[in-house]
Amino acid sequence: MQWPDINQIPTFPNDLMFLIFNDLSTEERIPLGTTCKRLATLVKGGVSGKNIGDSHTENRALSISWNFAKKGGRVRSRLALRADTPPPRSVCTRGYPQTHHRNWSHASSKEDPAPLQIFRLTDSYKYVTFDISEHIVDEFIRSMMYLPSVDYDWEGDEEDGELCYIFDKSSRTILFASNNDNDESIARVTIAKIDERNNLRIHNDNPTLPNDLMFLIFNELPTVDRIQLGTSCKRFRKIDFELGSKHFERIDISLIDFYQQLSVVGKTGSMEYAIHGNITGHAYPSRHNLSRFRSARTNVLNIACDQSTRSSYNIRDSDFDFIAKICEQIRFASAFIKTNFCESNTIEHLISIIKRFSMKHTQVVIKSSAPQSTSFLYSHLLKQLPKINRFRFDFFTISKWNEHRGIGISESAFHHIVSQTNHAEFDLVQTTAEGIQRVFEMVRNWDGYKFVVFNTDWTTVIEFIALHLVNGTYAFDDTRVTDRSTRTVLIKSDVVHSKFIANVVICKVDADYKIPPLPNDLISIAFSSSRSTFRIRSADFDFLGKLVEQITFKSLMIKANCCDSTSIEQLTSLIKSCKMEKVSFYLSDNENTSHLCSHLLLQLPKLDKFRFQFHTLPSGQANREEEGISESAFLHIVSNTNAARLDKVNYTADGIQRAFEMVKQ
């Protein structure tokens, strides 16, 4: 049996001691105050006149001794009832304290003897130590020692002091008593629970581990376990907040004014850790809210900022400030920002958020669904970006490419991004031949990996090529300008459906003059058509197929606004020649051609992730009821992918059942 150190009494928390003292009369508190300095200090506190039970009997003292463990409530009232029950036996022949052989009221019920109720102190406190009149303890022990569920023993002698314990096996509670060194009439009693490993659960050692060690321990735990640990006591809760550093698979921040919604949601496994609020003020940057995401780490940070033109509500500065403060604390691998902001003040706010990112080794993708005419505002945003490993900027609207003059990211923003990133992708850039030359030089003079892809005015690219053709600086063929000394290339290709735009890739190639595999790459193919004179050519797709074949990539994203049968056939053959893990389609057409898309989906190989979105453009006459992927295509996708997200499916109950079975298996 492990005996607790009697000197641990000073570690018993003051607030509990106050509770105990509060239930004692002044008279009773004075002797306690003489036991040690700490208790003496406590005695100087308020005086309670509470007197429980019959003041002329020893039962009174017993009542008090029980009550000081827990003020009021069931314990006290039950004890009062037991006090009058007749004594069953007297006298203990040996053992502590041996001096008072009085009768003691025994249980009125065999299952729940009255003295056992003293053990209920441990229902409130795991560990209780107090000084009490010796003869009360004596009576108590004698009444307990013969109960079948109780073990009893003692050690020591009258000279060296005696120590005895009783152990109630049913409640696994131990009471031990020893002589007080200063006053023989006072005994020191400790009651504690013992766990199944026979360790006394009186130690509060864990909370006394220094904070730096507790930080180490917290750091070892996954987020879910840390939160549980944080609920066990106030100190752990504080440590959990102070340490932060929770790890999430993904954190979604959304600021959507139409719904007046502001939320920060951390996702780990199937669980969500969220601050939900609305713009009228429920989510605010309190210390508590900010602490919840302090030093959080996440694989993906999604930020969606949506300002509806239909809403009269303006997003407040404080909401942006809140998001900025949250973002400042988060470390992420990839950030995806979707926005439709098209006013300078909201873009300024977005800049304030992005500038606080810690993203030296990260990837940032910004997708704007604002009109491309706002590209000058976004150019300003891009110029504020710090160093990033990989960057991509997209305007989600793609139907205006034929009217590209005057839109697109500015040359200065383009140069800034290229100089700050190892991998940059742009939708449309306004640049000059000199501007392209500067980017080419940046890539050429860069020691490591640098990859730039952008769309720009076709004539500008021709001008750049002509420049080198005349100078003879670099090797040249139909589509490439190559600097053989550094193996830097510029590859020009036509953009399907836009004769005014050229797609340009500038990078370093390997010894075989092939584009090296792009780490975690995303290939984005965009088709845009006015459906007028220009028809899609097989040669365009052949070229595209050959280009794509050279590149190793994981994700393929296709955006198109024409889904006629020829385009779909060509697209199908292109996809079949690719090896990738993830495919995303964002298709639209004036007519409902989703049946053609279903044909395309049926050709898809095995994929890890798949996303499909189709919508009929507002000008179209399609029957929206019929819009949607066919059931066979749906089942093909479900059976060939691990994660599928489809916009609309024409399904039957049987189809759903089959999909359910597939997922189940």
Partner: protein, 165 residues
């Protein structure tokens, strides 16, 4: 074999092989400062007092160091590396008898004081493992932590953490 004597807070002497003590940053610094590695110095006559470590805890620490003799000593504090560490079976068995008890915690504090990084990492890992998959009340129950929250506070915390239940 050079032996160096460590003296615990309760005045117990522990002669320990010099090689073993390389695992402890604190003792290594003391040995260097006291020139105990010099051939002219009588290391046996110069015991190293460790006033913050009790005898029984120091005994456990030495037992651990003996088992891990020759292990590479961890340099610096790299939290990310810790995430991949699994407590080996021997260490798990070593910590187990003291688990949930003050001994384990004293051992952790001693590892921190003596700057034995591997022991500290494993010990913290073993403690954190005991918290895994447990709810707040279960942790309180196992570690004898008193419930300090008022019912109102408990309700507020429960709402806050509904997502993790």
């Amino acid at each position: 074999m050079v032996l160096i004597t460590l003296v615990s807070s309760d005045e117990q002497n522990f002669p320990v092989e010099r090689e073993l003590l390389k695992q402890s940053g604190t003792i290594e610094t003391l040995i260097v400062n006291m020139n105990l590695d010099d051939e002219d110095t009588d290391a046996a006559a110069m015991p190293i007092p460790l006033p913050n470590v009790k005898g029984d805890v120091l005994e456990k620490v030495i037992q651990w160091m003996e088992h891990h003799k020759g292990d590479p000593v961890k340099e610096g504090d790299n939290e990310d590396n810790n995430a991949e560490i699994v407590v080996p079976q021997w260490d798990d068995d070593f910590f187990k008898p003291a688990m949930y008890g003050s001994k384990h915690l004293e051992l952790t504090v001693a590892a921190s004081y003596l700057d034995i990084k591997n022991l500290l990492t494993l010990s913290c890992k073993a403690i954190s493992n005991t918290f895994k998959g447990k709810t707040g009340p279960q942790i309180r129950e196992e570690w004898g932590v008193p419930n300090e929250f008022t019912p109102e506070e408990e309700e507020a915390i429960r709402k806050e953490n509904e997502w993790s239940e």
